[in-house]
Amino acid sequence: MTPKSNGIWVILLSFLVAYLLAIVPFPDWAMHYRPQWVMLVLIYWVMALPYRVGIGSAWMAGIFTDILEGSLLGIHAFTFAILAYITLSLHQRVRLFSSWQQSGIILALVGLVMTGTYWIKVMTGETAQGSMLFLLGALSSAFVWPWLFLLLRQLRRGFDVH
Protein backbone atom coordinates (compact mmCIF):
# COMPACT_ATOMS: atom_id res chain seq x y z
CA MET A 1 0.00 0.00 0.00
CA THR A 2 1.64 3.15 -1.20
CA PRO A 3 0.31 5.98 0.88
CA LYS A 4 -1.49 9.06 -0.43
CA SER A 5 -0.28 9.57 -3.97
CA ASN A 6 -1.84 6.27 -5.04
CA GLY A 7 -4.13 6.62 -8.03
CA ILE A 8 -4.86 10.30 -7.59
CA TRP A 9 -5.03 10.60 -11.37
CA VAL A 10 -7.96 8.16 -11.49
CA ILE A 11 -9.92 10.46 -9.20
CA LEU A 12 -8.93 13.58 -11.14
CA LEU A 13 -9.70 11.94 -14.47
CA SER A 14 -13.15 10.84 -13.29
CA PHE A 15 -13.84 14.43 -12.23
CA LEU A 16 -12.59 15.75 -15.57
CA VAL A 17 -14.93 13.42 -17.45
CA ALA A 18 -17.77 14.49 -15.15
CA TYR A 19 -17.06 18.16 -15.94
CA LEU A 20 -17.00 17.39 -19.66
CA LEU A 21 -20.34 15.59 -19.42
CA ALA A 22 -21.71 18.49 -17.40
CA ILE A 23 -20.99 21.09 -20.08
CA VAL A 24 -21.53 19.12 -23.28
CA PRO A 25 -24.34 21.02 -25.03
CA PHE A 26 -27.80 19.50 -24.72
CA PRO A 27 -30.85 20.34 -26.83
CA ASP A 28 -33.20 22.77 -25.16
CA TRP A 29 -35.94 20.31 -24.25
CA ALA A 30 -33.45 17.94 -22.58
CA MET A 31 -31.82 20.64 -20.43
CA HIS A 32 -33.72 19.64 -17.32
CA TYR A 33 -32.88 15.96 -17.64
CA ARG A 34 -29.11 16.39 -17.48
CA PRO A 35 -27.76 14.24 -14.62
CA GLN A 36 -25.55 16.08 -12.15
CA TRP A 37 -22.39 14.21 -13.08
CA VAL A 38 -20.00 16.14 -10.89
CA MET A 39 -22.15 15.65 -7.80
CA LEU A 40 -22.47 11.92 -8.51
CA VAL A 41 -18.74 11.42 -8.94
CA LEU A 42 -18.14 13.47 -5.82
CA ILE A 43 -20.61 11.40 -3.81
CA TYR A 44 -18.98 8.20 -5.03
CA TRP A 45 -15.47 9.19 -4.01
CA VAL A 46 -16.60 10.56 -0.66
CA MET A 47 -18.40 7.30 0.02
CA ALA A 48 -15.60 5.07 -1.19
CA LEU A 49 -12.60 6.98 0.17
CA PRO A 50 -13.89 9.26 2.92
CA TYR A 51 -10.37 9.71 4.31
CA ARG A 52 -9.08 11.10 1.00
CA VAL A 53 -11.97 12.94 -0.61
CA GLY A 54 -13.81 15.10 1.87
CA ILE A 55 -15.28 18.52 2.40
CA GLY A 56 -12.11 20.27 1.21
CA SER A 57 -12.02 18.42 -2.09
CA ALA A 58 -15.74 19.04 -2.51
CA TRP A 59 -15.10 22.75 -1.99
CA MET A 60 -12.43 22.78 -4.68
CA ALA A 61 -14.67 20.83 -7.07
CA GLY A 62 -17.41 23.37 -6.42
CA ILE A 63 -15.18 26.36 -7.09
CA PHE A 64 -14.11 24.78 -10.36
CA THR A 65 -17.77 24.28 -11.30
CA ASP A 66 -18.47 27.92 -10.51
CA ILE A 67 -15.70 29.12 -12.78
CA LEU A 68 -16.63 26.66 -15.51
CA GLU A 69 -20.26 27.75 -15.55
CA GLY A 70 -19.50 31.39 -14.97
CA SER A 71 -21.84 31.36 -11.99
CA LEU A 72 -21.31 33.37 -8.84
CA LEU A 73 -18.06 32.26 -7.19
CA GLY A 74 -18.75 30.10 -4.15
CA ILE A 75 -22.28 28.88 -4.85
CA HIS A 76 -21.28 25.41 -5.84
CA ALA A 77 -18.36 25.39 -3.42
CA PHE A 78 -20.86 26.00 -0.63
CA THR A 79 -23.44 23.45 -1.73
CA PHE A 80 -20.88 20.78 -2.65
CA ALA A 81 -19.27 21.14 0.77
CA ILE A 82 -22.68 20.55 2.37
CA LEU A 83 -23.20 17.59 0.05
CA ALA A 84 -19.84 16.13 1.10
CA TYR A 85 -20.67 16.67 4.77
CA ILE A 86 -24.00 14.84 4.53
CA THR A 87 -22.43 12.05 2.51
CA LEU A 88 -19.61 11.71 5.06
CA SER A 89 -22.08 11.33 7.89
CA LEU A 90 -24.13 8.78 5.93
CA HIS A 91 -21.46 6.84 4.07
CA GLN A 92 -21.20 3.85 6.38
CA ARG A 93 -24.92 3.19 6.18
CA VAL A 94 -25.31 3.92 2.49
CA ARG A 95 -22.48 1.53 1.58
CA LEU A 96 -24.59 -1.37 2.85
CA PHE A 97 -27.68 -0.41 0.89
CA SER A 98 -28.76 -2.18 -2.28
CA SER A 99 -28.22 -0.14 -5.41
CA TRP A 100 -31.89 0.88 -5.67
CA GLN A 101 -31.93 2.09 -2.08
CA GLN A 102 -28.76 4.03 -2.87
CA SER A 103 -30.56 5.58 -5.83
CA GLY A 104 -33.25 6.80 -3.44
CA ILE A 105 -30.61 8.43 -1.23
CA ILE A 106 -29.01 9.99 -4.33
CA LEU A 107 -32.38 11.36 -5.40
CA ALA A 108 -32.85 13.03 -2.04
CA LEU A 109 -29.25 14.31 -1.79
CA VAL A 110 -28.95 15.69 -5.31
CA GLY A 111 -32.45 17.14 -5.15
CA LEU A 112 -31.60 18.88 -1.87
CA VAL A 113 -28.34 20.31 -3.20
CA MET A 114 -29.93 21.44 -6.47
CA THR A 115 -32.72 23.16 -4.60
CA GLY A 116 -30.19 24.88 -2.36
CA THR A 117 -28.18 26.04 -5.36
CA TYR A 118 -31.35 27.27 -7.03
CA TRP A 119 -32.38 29.23 -3.94
CA ILE A 120 -29.02 30.96 -3.71
CA LYS A 121 -29.08 31.72 -7.43
CA VAL A 122 -32.53 33.26 -7.20
CA MET A 123 -31.55 35.24 -4.10
CA THR A 124 -28.52 36.74 -5.82
CA GLY A 125 -30.39 37.39 -9.05
CA GLU A 126 -28.27 34.88 -10.96
CA THR A 127 -31.31 33.05 -12.36
CA ALA A 128 -34.89 34.02 -12.83
CA GLN A 129 -37.43 32.39 -10.61
CA GLY A 130 -39.01 29.69 -12.73
CA SER A 131 -40.50 26.25 -12.52
CA MET A 132 -39.14 23.52 -10.29
CA LEU A 133 -38.57 21.40 -13.39
CA PHE A 134 -34.83 21.40 -12.74
CA LEU A 135 -35.47 18.72 -10.11
CA LEU A 136 -35.83 16.29 -13.02
CA GLY A 137 -32.05 16.43 -13.00
CA ALA A 138 -32.07 14.76 -9.58
CA LEU A 139 -34.35 12.05 -10.96
CA SER A 140 -32.05 11.32 -13.89
CA SER A 141 -29.06 11.39 -11.53
CA ALA A 142 -30.71 8.74 -9.37
CA PHE A 143 -31.41 6.77 -12.50
CA VAL A 144 -27.81 6.68 -13.75
CA TRP A 145 -26.34 6.15 -10.28
CA PRO A 146 -26.33 2.28 -10.21
CA TRP A 147 -24.38 2.14 -13.49
CA LEU A 148 -22.04 4.94 -12.57
CA PHE A 149 -21.44 3.23 -9.23
CA LEU A 150 -20.51 -0.07 -10.90
CA LEU A 151 -18.26 1.70 -13.41
CA LEU A 152 -16.42 3.73 -10.80
CA ARG A 153 -16.05 0.69 -8.54
CA GLN A 154 -14.53 -1.26 -11.41
CA LEU A 155 -12.16 1.63 -12.02
CA ARG A 156 -11.26 1.91 -8.36
CA ARG A 157 -10.59 -1.82 -8.00
CA GLY A 158 -8.87 -2.10 -11.37
CA PHE A 159 -6.43 0.67 -10.61
CA ASP A 160 -6.32 -0.22 -6.92
CA VAL A 161 -7.13 3.23 -5.62
CA HIS A 162 -7.47 3.37 -1.88
Partner: protein, 274 residues
Protein backbone atom coordinates in the same frame (compact mmCIF):
# COMPACT_ATOMS: atom_id res chain seq x y z
CA UNK B 1 -18.25 27.24 4.59
CA UNK B 2 -17.55 30.74 5.74
CA UNK B 3 -15.04 31.15 2.94
CA UNK B 4 -17.63 30.10 0.37
CA UNK B 5 -20.22 32.44 1.82
CA UNK B 6 -17.87 35.42 1.89
CA UNK B 7 -16.72 34.62 -1.65
CA UNK B 8 -20.31 34.64 -2.84
CA UNK B 9 -20.95 37.93 -1.11
CA UNK B 10 -17.80 39.51 -2.46
CA UNK B 11 -18.40 38.33 -6.00
CA UNK B 12 -21.95 39.59 -5.91
CA UNK B 13 -21.13 43.01 -4.57
CA UNK B 14 -17.65 43.96 -5.72
CA UNK B 15 -15.66 43.68 -8.87
CA UNK B 16 -12.19 42.69 -7.78
CA UNK B 17 -12.96 38.98 -7.98
CA UNK B 18 -13.44 39.41 -11.72
CA UNK B 19 -9.67 39.34 -12.04
CA UNK B 20 -9.49 36.04 -10.12
CA UNK B 21 -12.19 34.64 -12.36
CA UNK B 22 -10.31 35.90 -15.39
CA UNK B 23 -7.05 34.18 -14.44
CA UNK B 24 -8.61 30.89 -13.34
CA UNK B 25 -10.35 30.79 -16.70
CA UNK B 26 -6.98 29.81 -18.17
CA UNK B 27 -7.61 26.49 -16.41
CA UNK B 28 -11.17 26.04 -17.58
CA UNK B 29 -10.64 26.92 -21.24
CA UNK B 30 -9.06 23.50 -22.04
CA UNK B 31 -12.13 21.77 -20.60
CA UNK B 32 -14.37 23.67 -23.00
CA UNK B 33 -11.94 22.99 -25.78
CA UNK B 34 -12.20 19.26 -25.01
CA UNK B 35 -15.98 19.36 -24.77
CA UNK B 36 -16.13 21.02 -28.17
CA UNK B 37 -14.14 18.28 -29.92
CA UNK B 38 -17.13 16.10 -30.95
CA UNK B 39 -18.79 19.06 -32.65
CA UNK B 40 -15.58 20.03 -34.42
CA UNK B 41 -15.07 16.45 -35.57
CA UNK B 42 -18.58 16.26 -36.97
CA UNK B 43 -18.06 19.55 -38.81
CA UNK B 44 -14.74 18.27 -40.09
CA UNK B 45 -16.36 15.03 -41.31
CA UNK B 46 -19.04 17.09 -43.03
CA UNK B 47 -16.31 19.09 -44.74
CA UNK B 48 -14.16 16.16 -45.78
CA UNK B 49 -16.72 13.63 -46.94
CA UNK B 50 -18.70 15.56 -49.50
CA UNK B 51 -19.01 14.57 -53.11
CA UNK B 52 -17.73 16.84 -55.84
CA UNK B 53 -21.24 17.22 -57.22
CA UNK B 54 -22.54 18.51 -53.90
CA UNK B 55 -19.69 20.98 -53.79
CA UNK B 56 -20.36 22.25 -57.29
CA UNK B 57 -24.06 22.56 -56.50
CA UNK B 58 -23.36 24.42 -53.29
CA UNK B 59 -20.91 26.64 -55.10
CA UNK B 60 -23.49 27.68 -57.70
CA UNK B 61 -26.02 28.34 -54.99
CA UNK B 62 -23.58 30.48 -53.06
CA UNK B 63 -22.68 32.40 -56.20
CA UNK B 64 -26.33 33.16 -56.80
CA UNK B 65 -26.83 34.25 -53.22
CA UNK B 66 -23.76 36.44 -53.44
CA UNK B 67 -25.11 38.05 -56.57
CA UNK B 68 -28.42 38.81 -54.88
CA UNK B 69 -26.67 40.10 -51.80
CA UNK B 70 -24.41 42.34 -53.86
CA UNK B 71 -27.37 43.75 -55.71
CA UNK B 72 -29.06 44.58 -52.42
CA UNK B 73 -25.82 46.00 -51.13
CA UNK B 74 -25.68 48.40 -54.09
CA UNK B 75 -29.19 49.56 -53.30
CA UNK B 76 -28.20 49.86 -49.67
CA UNK B 77 -25.18 51.99 -50.51
CA UNK B 78 -27.46 54.37 -52.38
CA UNK B 79 -29.90 54.46 -49.50
CA UNK B 80 -27.15 54.92 -46.94
CA UNK B 81 -25.68 57.93 -48.72
CA UNK B 82 -29.12 59.42 -49.15
CA UNK B 83 -29.82 58.75 -45.49
CA UNK B 84 -26.60 60.40 -44.37
CA UNK B 85 -27.35 63.45 -46.54
CA UNK B 86 -30.74 63.75 -44.91
CA UNK B 87 -29.15 63.39 -41.50
CA UNK B 88 -26.64 66.09 -42.37
CA UNK B 89 -29.58 68.31 -43.20
CA UNK B 90 -30.82 67.62 -39.69
CA UNK B 91 -27.34 68.36 -38.38
CA UNK B 92 -27.16 65.04 -36.62
CA UNK B 93 -24.20 62.73 -36.42
CA UNK B 94 -24.67 59.54 -38.33
CA UNK B 95 -25.06 56.32 -36.44
CA UNK B 96 -22.20 54.23 -37.75
CA UNK B 97 -22.92 50.54 -38.05
CA UNK B 98 -19.48 49.45 -36.93
CA UNK B 99 -17.21 46.65 -38.06
CA UNK B 100 -17.82 43.04 -37.13
CA UNK B 101 -15.64 40.20 -35.88
CA UNK B 102 -16.66 36.61 -36.55
CA UNK B 103 -16.94 34.13 -33.72
CA UNK B 104 -18.24 30.66 -33.03
CA UNK B 105 -20.53 29.48 -30.27
CA UNK B 106 -18.71 26.70 -28.48
CA UNK B 107 -21.04 25.99 -25.58
CA UNK B 108 -24.34 26.87 -23.97
CA UNK B 109 -25.02 27.41 -20.30
CA UNK B 110 -26.30 24.25 -18.63
CA UNK B 111 -28.43 26.24 -16.19
CA UNK B 112 -32.01 26.05 -17.48
CA UNK B 113 -32.87 29.30 -15.68
CA UNK B 114 -30.49 31.47 -17.66
CA UNK B 115 -29.85 31.67 -21.38
CA UNK B 116 -26.21 32.25 -22.09
CA UNK B 117 -23.74 30.98 -24.66
CA UNK B 118 -19.97 30.78 -24.68
CA UNK B 119 -18.15 32.10 -27.75
CA UNK B 120 -14.58 31.40 -28.80
CA UNK B 121 -13.39 35.02 -28.64
CA UNK B 122 -12.06 36.64 -25.51
CA UNK B 123 -9.88 39.40 -24.15
CA UNK B 124 -7.02 38.30 -26.42
CA UNK B 125 -9.19 39.04 -29.45
CA UNK B 126 -10.21 42.43 -28.10
CA UNK B 127 -13.70 41.54 -26.88
CA UNK B 128 -15.12 43.99 -24.35
CA UNK B 129 -18.12 43.89 -22.03
CA UNK B 130 -21.38 44.91 -23.63
CA UNK B 131 -20.48 44.12 -27.22
CA UNK B 132 -23.48 43.09 -29.30
CA UNK B 133 -23.66 39.63 -30.86
CA UNK B 134 -25.44 38.98 -34.16
CA UNK B 135 -26.04 36.03 -36.38
CA UNK B 136 -26.99 36.14 -40.04
CA UNK B 137 -30.64 36.77 -39.21
CA UNK B 138 -30.71 39.18 -36.32
CA UNK B 139 -29.55 40.35 -32.92
CA UNK B 140 -28.61 37.58 -30.48
CA UNK B 141 -27.35 39.12 -27.28
CA UNK B 142 -24.52 40.96 -25.57
CA UNK B 143 -21.22 40.02 -23.96
CA UNK B 144 -21.52 39.91 -20.17
CA UNK B 145 -18.26 38.29 -19.11
CA UNK B 146 -14.94 38.41 -20.90
CA UNK B 147 -12.45 35.60 -20.23
CA UNK B 148 -8.97 35.24 -21.76
CA UNK B 149 -9.94 33.21 -24.84
CA UNK B 150 -13.71 32.93 -24.47
CA UNK B 151 -16.62 35.11 -23.40
CA UNK B 152 -20.09 34.56 -22.02
CA UNK B 153 -22.91 36.14 -23.98
CA UNK B 154 -26.32 36.81 -22.45
CA UNK B 155 -28.98 36.08 -25.07
CA UNK B 156 -31.86 38.48 -25.60
CA UNK B 157 -34.24 35.64 -24.66
CA UNK B 158 -32.91 35.54 -21.09
CA UNK B 159 -35.67 36.69 -18.77
CA UNK B 160 -33.36 39.24 -17.15
CA UNK B 161 -32.45 40.84 -20.44
CA UNK B 162 -34.33 43.75 -21.98
CA UNK B 163 -33.68 44.92 -25.53
CA UNK B 164 -34.75 48.40 -26.60
CA UNK B 165 -36.64 47.89 -29.86
CA UNK B 166 -38.92 49.76 -32.21
CA UNK B 167 -41.53 48.57 -34.66
CA UNK B 168 -40.04 48.88 -38.12
CA UNK B 169 -43.36 49.87 -39.69
CA UNK B 170 -44.16 52.91 -37.58
CA UNK B 171 -41.31 53.49 -35.16
CA UNK B 172 -43.27 52.60 -32.03
CA UNK B 173 -40.69 52.11 -29.29
CA UNK B 174 -40.82 49.52 -26.56
CA UNK B 175 -38.69 47.10 -24.61
CA UNK B 176 -38.50 43.41 -25.52
CA UNK B 177 -37.82 41.25 -22.53
CA UNK B 178 -36.94 37.56 -22.57
CA UNK B 179 -39.97 35.49 -21.72
CA UNK B 180 -40.11 33.81 -18.34
CA UNK B 181 -41.47 30.52 -19.62
CA UNK B 182 -39.49 27.56 -20.84
CA UNK B 183 -39.87 28.34 -24.54
CA UNK B 184 -37.32 30.90 -25.72
CA UNK B 185 -39.16 34.01 -26.84
CA UNK B 186 -39.62 37.70 -26.20
CA UNK B 187 -42.37 39.70 -24.51
CA UNK B 188 -43.00 43.39 -25.07
CA UNK B 189 -43.38 45.11 -21.75
CA UNK B 190 -45.74 47.90 -20.76
CA UNK B 191 -47.27 48.46 -24.16
CA UNK B 192 -50.57 50.35 -23.91
CA UNK B 193 -53.62 48.71 -25.46
CA UNK B 194 -53.87 51.51 -27.98
CA UNK B 195 -50.39 50.97 -29.42
CA UNK B 196 -50.29 50.15 -33.10
CA UNK B 197 -48.52 46.79 -33.05
CA UNK B 198 -49.84 43.90 -35.12
CA UNK B 199 -48.91 40.27 -35.64
CA UNK B 200 -46.10 39.99 -38.19
CA UNK B 201 -44.53 43.35 -37.37
CA UNK B 202 -40.76 43.41 -37.53
CA UNK B 203 -39.00 44.70 -34.42
CA UNK B 204 -35.60 46.30 -34.94
CA UNK B 205 -33.15 47.50 -32.32
CA UNK B 206 -33.82 51.14 -31.56
CA UNK B 207 -30.31 52.01 -30.46
CA UNK B 208 -31.63 53.63 -27.31
CA UNK B 209 -29.57 52.76 -24.28
CA UNK B 210 -26.58 52.90 -26.63
CA UNK B 211 -25.78 49.25 -26.09
CA UNK B 212 -26.95 47.74 -29.33
CA UNK B 213 -26.34 49.18 -32.79
CA UNK B 214 -29.39 50.75 -34.36
CA UNK B 215 -31.71 49.10 -36.88
CA UNK B 216 -30.67 45.48 -36.61
CA UNK B 217 -33.64 43.09 -36.90
CA UNK B 218 -34.50 41.57 -33.53
CA UNK B 219 -37.82 39.74 -33.62
CA UNK B 220 -41.15 39.25 -35.28
CA UNK B 221 -44.41 39.78 -33.39
CA UNK B 222 -46.24 36.46 -33.11
CA UNK B 223 -49.25 37.25 -30.94
CA UNK B 224 -51.05 40.32 -29.64
CA UNK B 225 -53.66 39.88 -26.92
CA UNK B 226 -55.77 42.77 -25.62
CA UNK B 227 -57.12 41.58 -22.28
CA UNK B 228 -59.51 44.11 -20.71
CA UNK B 229 -58.49 42.86 -17.27
CA UNK B 230 -54.83 43.70 -17.86
CA UNK B 231 -53.41 47.21 -17.80
CA UNK B 232 -51.17 46.53 -20.80
CA UNK B 233 -51.39 44.53 -23.99
CA UNK B 234 -49.78 41.09 -23.94
CA UNK B 235 -47.47 40.90 -26.92
CA UNK B 236 -45.17 38.01 -27.72
CA UNK B 237 -42.42 37.96 -30.33
CA UNK B 238 -40.14 35.35 -31.83
CA UNK B 239 -36.46 36.26 -32.09
CA UNK B 240 -35.14 36.21 -35.66
CA UNK B 241 -31.67 35.05 -34.71
CA UNK B 242 -31.41 31.28 -34.72
CA UNK B 243 -30.61 31.00 -31.04
CA UNK B 244 -30.16 27.26 -30.74
CA UNK B 245 -29.24 26.24 -34.27
CA UNK B 246 -26.52 28.58 -35.42
CA UNK B 247 -22.85 28.23 -34.62
CA UNK B 248 -21.40 31.09 -36.61
CA UNK B 249 -22.00 34.51 -35.14
CA UNK B 250 -20.64 38.06 -35.39
CA UNK B 251 -19.52 40.49 -32.73
CA UNK B 252 -20.09 44.16 -33.49
CA UNK B 253 -16.93 46.18 -32.90
CA UNK B 254 -18.10 49.53 -31.62
CA UNK B 255 -16.63 52.68 -33.17
CA UNK B 256 -15.45 55.44 -30.87
CA UNK B 257 -17.52 58.15 -32.51
CA UNK B 258 -20.61 55.99 -32.99
CA UNK B 259 -21.91 56.36 -29.46
CA UNK B 260 -24.04 59.40 -30.04
CA UNK B 261 -26.95 58.76 -32.33
CA UNK B 262 -29.28 61.30 -33.90
CA UNK B 263 -31.69 63.12 -31.61
CA UNK B 264 -35.10 61.50 -31.44
CA UNK B 265 -38.30 63.48 -31.36
CA UNK B 266 -41.36 61.96 -29.87
CA UNK B 267 -44.82 63.10 -30.87
CA UNK B 268 -47.09 62.63 -27.87
CA UNK B 269 -50.28 62.68 -29.93
CA UNK B 270 -49.51 59.97 -32.43
CA UNK B 271 -46.80 58.12 -30.58
CA UNK B 272 -44.62 58.28 -33.66
CA UNK B 273 -40.93 59.02 -33.63
CA UNK B 274 -40.00 61.60 -36.20
Amino acid sequence: MALALSLMYADNRYEYLDRVRFSVAYLTTPVYWLADIPTRISFWIDDVFVSQRDLIEENTQLRQQLLFAQRELQLLAGLASENSRLRELQEASQAVQGRVMTAEIINVSNDPGSRRVLINRGAHDGVVDGQALLDAHGLMGQVVEVLPFTSWVLLITDSRHGTPVQVNRNGERTIARGSRGDAPGLELEFVPDTADIAVGDLLVSSGLGQRFPKDYPVAEVTSVVHDPGQPFALIKARPLAQMDRTRHVMLVVPDEEAIVGPPVFFDANTGVIE
